[in-house]
Symmetry: C2
Subunit: 150 residues, 2 copies
DNA sequence: ACAACTACGACTCTTTAGGTCGCCTTTTAT
DNA sequence: ATAAAAGGCGACCTAAAGAGTCGTAGTTGT
């Protein structure tokens, strides 16, 4: 149903949390998990993935935890989602390794690929720093012109 | 991973097929299934859903099958997907019946809702008649302006 | 060196997408 | 009238992915 996984949700929440608490040093997975009612170990695994791709830095030991490695204004939602859920494809036809299973007769691949690109662009243009609860901070402009006939 | 279900894929393929063969009378589920290598019974169920919401009309008996009820230029990909997969939500936070399970402390709901609306608009602006294999027929315009800061 | 705390990775459980099967109803060609 | 061809509906099965849990290894402060 075209939805993000909970993991991606959690990841975005965690990234936002880290961005907001950057001046207070590292945040442990436990801290973040308790703040939002997320299962602690589940969140830890997500943060580990984010650490693996270099979006956050991990610190062992007492008072350890995670910190952002970059300015939250430069981190897009796409990066986070991609790190957690892997490359996203709107259609099951287009896979990582190439082609459509439907006897290569699938005729909707190309249009949907365009849609996919469009969605990626939307996600790439939303930065962690922009994610606030107030709806006014993000404005979607000219949606009607998004996809047009040539 | 933010992908459409195969059912939705199949549905779009079938709709496109019906649009292209509109002048030849009704197409049976079997015809369409064989044309693209889709399991026949699976496709039949999908076509039944499309018939239920009025996107296609069914005809029993010999030489029966399905026909589009409207001009393919007026049918959007969104309608088809919505009929098959139900309402789509990018985030698992936002459900049909309302609220976020994470103790209502989920802070990314609103920004993601905006993304969701944007995706819906993209899908609403793609019509069945536009779905051709050639990539030139659909142009994504100004993706960089999709989501902007206020 | 020890204890407290954290990250890390393997594993299990649950959900759901995807597909199959069977039986019924409707229509129509003969 | 009848048989064949098509849709209609529901139950069921399977397999994959999502979500969460448990145990282990690694750091750090004292």
């Amino acid at each position: 149903m075209l939805k993000l996984t909970k993991k991606a949700d959690y990841g975005l929440m965690a990234m936002k949390h880290l961005a907001e608490h950057a001046d207070e040093g590292a945040c442990s997975a436990k801290d973040v998990a308790e703040a939002y009612g997320i299962p602690q170990e589940a969140l830890a695994k997500i943060l580990q993935r984010l650490a693996k791709v270099g979006l956050v830095q991990s610190q062992h030991g007492i008072n350890g935890g995670y910190t952002l490695t970059r300015d939250p204004r430069s981190i897009s939602a796409f990066e986070v989602i991609n790190a957690i859920d892997g490359p996203l494809f709107i259609t099951s036809c287009v896979t990582v390794r190439g082609e459509c299973g439907q006897s290569n007769r699938c005729t909707i691949r190309e249009p949907l690929r365009k849609v996919n690109e469009s969605i990626e662009q939307v996600l790439k243009n939303i930065k962690i720093s922009q994610m606030k609860e107030e709806s006014e901070t993000i404005e979607i402009r000219k949606p009607a012109e998004l996809v047009t006939l040539v």
